[in-house]
């Protein structure tokens, strides 16, 4: 990808909302946790919102790191690999009960399944299908507005 800073942030928020929201909606009922479905949905969407909010800060860091790259690009691999630090941070915050509004306890399995699928979905859409409805998106550094 060839993002600008506003493009990074816009793309992240848009794709997490649309793709991440859809995946969360579908996956939550089949997650292994035994909590009531309402609580599972609440927690699932709070995790998703955390990825979005903290992600804005991560994007600032990625943008800074990208400045050392001559091409000023963000290779495909980076887009997937950044799931590791971001996922670990969210898990740490869940463990420390630092994400407000979480009901009860989010199991490790629930988190890993939801987070991985959302990340993979967003990454796959950003690396191709996104260009189909939004033909200007890739030439505008990932900006949608």
């Amino acid at each position: 990808m060839l993002p600008t800073l506003p493009g990074r942030i816009q793309t992240r928020l848009f794709l997490l909302a649309i793709v991440g929201g859809l995946i969360t909606l579908i996956i939550v009922p089949v997650l292994p946790g035994s909590a009531p479905l309402g609580d599972k949905y609440r927690n699932g969407f709070l995790v998703l919102a955390s990825v979005a909010v903290l992600g804005v800060l991560w994007e600032l860091l990625y943008h800074l790191l990208m400045q050392w790259r001559w091409e000023k690009d963000w290779p495909t691999f980076f887009g997937l690999a950044t799931a590791v630090p971001e996922g670990l941070l969210i898990w740490l915050l869940l463990y420390e009960r630092a994400i407000p509004g979480i009901v009860g306890h989010v199991s490790g399995a629930d988190f890993i399944i939801q987070f991985s699928l959302v990340w993979l979905g967003v990454w796959l859409v950003a690396n191709g299908p996104m260009r189909v409805p939004f033909i200007r998106w890739r030439f505008h550094g990932g900006r949608l507005a």
Partner: protein, 526 residues
């Protein structure tokens, strides 16, 4: 190759033919009055006996730039009866294929272009890598894209895949219904708005002209021309020797043929992608046929390592080459550098061009391995300097007097291959020279055609008419990668959006874009 309908068939498209207005006199050629006037009236053209064809949009060139724009416009909803492609070539990839072939990229080889730079698909999805993976039932191209550029070379498509895709798309959009064969002579402003584009029809003696009267004109004439290094040009002219001293951009297969049967020395000039290609061909031939010739590589500017103004802007380099995946840093086609260049004017922009452009070539693992072998075995040598003079020795070898930092060296070679790819000035092209002289076109900070951010040719407006220009002749504008597939698509998108603002076509929104993509997938016409 393409199975184009004859050009005459396109000329006889009924919607256009019906609107041809023959002139009252029988001359049919350019008059002195027309040649001298910056603006022409309908009556002046009519009095000269030149038939007039009305069509709202014409694109001049008929190469990749014209094709990509009409592809965009067809997808936006413009019918084939509202556009004409005025060209002296039969299909859009003809010139490109010739140049790639002679510069050692035949159809099975890979060009220097990104996976998502698809001139036959405005969305860039599926990418070339994905298409190749599906077609060849292999995950290898996708793995390469995933690990590029850190642990794999940049993925690049095979030339054959590109041409096959172009042929499919050209047929899908009815390109050949819009093609009119001939030589464009000039574009002049029309009294009352719009333009006349004068086309000389092929094979007509005396010359037969047709005037295309249109509101919009697009110029995509490609490189104005090839220029040789002055000392090479002087040598060729003085000695009438086109055998020992050749350009990589012309057919020079005889060099490789001769080296197969007789050992010798080849001197390569230049450090760009074409020199790498020629070098690869020589090194491949050497290995595959067990040959024993020597290669001397002369760089005018020798790059010994990473270079640039600071840690934020450093390009890799070494052994003479500046290394870069593509012509420019990738983000000029959509990211940070594209946004930055859009804001720069004058000298600042020219300086930025020098910084990120210049002669460069990709760092590819196979080339590095071959060159390392050559250096250690002594059959590949590198020199840094300029050539002061060239002469023919008694034994037929070309002696190059090379001025280096250590003094004057004499390098005798059986063949000299010029890979510098110097380009001629835009005024060398007749249509562009005429625009500069008569229509108010000007030059940008690097001397090419000066275009706006939406690729309108500055100074040539004739309301409600507009001239646009894209491609190599506009290098130096607010968008750097103009002479590339993706660059032509960026330009086409900007022009299409501007034409939509002017009411020529609908703006492509998410719904139309998606529905048109589905048509592309099913190979249905737009």
């Amino acid at each position: 190759m393409a199975t184009d309908p004859p050009a005459d068939q396109a000329r006889e498209a009924p919607t256009i033919q019906a609107r041809i207005q023959p002139g009252p006199t029988s001359g049919g050629d350019l008059t002195d009055e027309l040649l001298k006037s910056d603006t022409w009236s309908d009556a002046m053209v009519g009095a000269a006996g030149i038939p007039i064809v009305d069509v709202p949009f014409v694109t001049v060139g008929g190469g990749m730039g014209s094709f990509i724009l009409v592809d965009y416009l067809r997808i936006a909803g413009v019918g084939t009866d509202r556009m004409r492609v005025l060209s002296d070539i039969d299909h859009p990839w003809q010139t490109y294929e010739y140049l790639t072939r002679v510069s050692q990229i035949p159809r099975p080889e890979r060009i220097r272009s990104d996976s998502a730079s698809r001139p036959d698909n405005i969305w860039g999805f599926p990418s070339y890598a994905l298409s190749e993976a599906i077609h060849d039932k292999t995950i290898k191209p996708l793995r390469q894209v995933f690990f590029e550029p850190m642990w794999a070379d940049f993925y690049t498509p095979r030339a054959g895949q590109v041409f096959a895709g172009l042929e499919r798309e050209a047929k899908r959009i009815g390109y050949f219904d819009m093609l009119v064969k001939g030589q464009v002579r000039m574009v002049r402003k029309r009294q009352g708005g719009g333009y006349f584009t004068i086309l000389t029809l092929p094979d007509a003696t005396p010359a037969r002209r047709v005037a295309y009267r249109s509101q919009f004109v697009h110029l995509a004439i490609g490189y104005p021309g090839l220029k040789y290094l002055p000392e090479l040009q002087a040598f060729r002219t003085e000695n009438q020797d086109f055998y020992h001293v050749v350009s990589a951009y012309e057919d020079h297969e005889h060099v490789y043929d001769r080296l197969r049967v007789k050992r010798g020395v080849v001197l390569i000039r230049g450090g760009g992608i074409v020199s790498s290609r020629v070098l690869q061909r020589l090194m491949d031939d050497r290995a595959n046929h067990n040959l024993d010739f020597e290669i001397v590589h002369l760089f005018r500017t020798y790059i010994s390592g990473s270079h640039g103004p600071g840690p934020w802007m450093r390009r890799r380099g070494g052994n003479g080459f500046a290394y870069q995946g593509f012509n420019y840093p990738k983000s000029v086609w959509g990211g940070q550098l594209k946004a930055k260049m859009r804001r720069l004017e004058g000298e600042q922009r020219a300086n930025e061009y020098k910084l990120m452009g210049g002669t460069n070539t990709p760092w590819r693992r196979s080339w590095q391995r071959q060159m390392n072998e050559g250096r250690s075995a002594g059959w590949y040598r590198v020199l840094s300097g300029t050539v002061e003079g060239m002469k023919v020795r008694e034994d037929g070898m070309v002696v190059n007097q090379v001025k280096t930092s250590q003094g004057l060296l004499e390098v005798a070679a059986d063949f000299v291959i010029d890979c510098t790819g110097l380009e001629a000035d835009i005024s060398e092209h007749r249509v562009l020279a005429d625009l500069l002289e008569h229509s108010g076109a000007g030059r940008n900070p690097v001397g090419r055609l000066d275009v706006e951010r939406d690729f309108e040719l500055r100074g040539t407006g004739n309301a409600p008419g507009v001239i646009y220009a894209s491609g190599a002749s506009t290098l130096g504008g607010y968008f750097p990668g103009v002479d590339t597939f993706l660059g032509l698509q960026v330009a086409a998108q900007e022009i299409t959006d501007d034409l939509a603002r002017r009411g020529f076509c609908p703006k492509i929104g998410p719904i139309r874009s998606t529905s048109q993509w589905l048509r592309w997938v099913r190979n249905r016409q737009p």
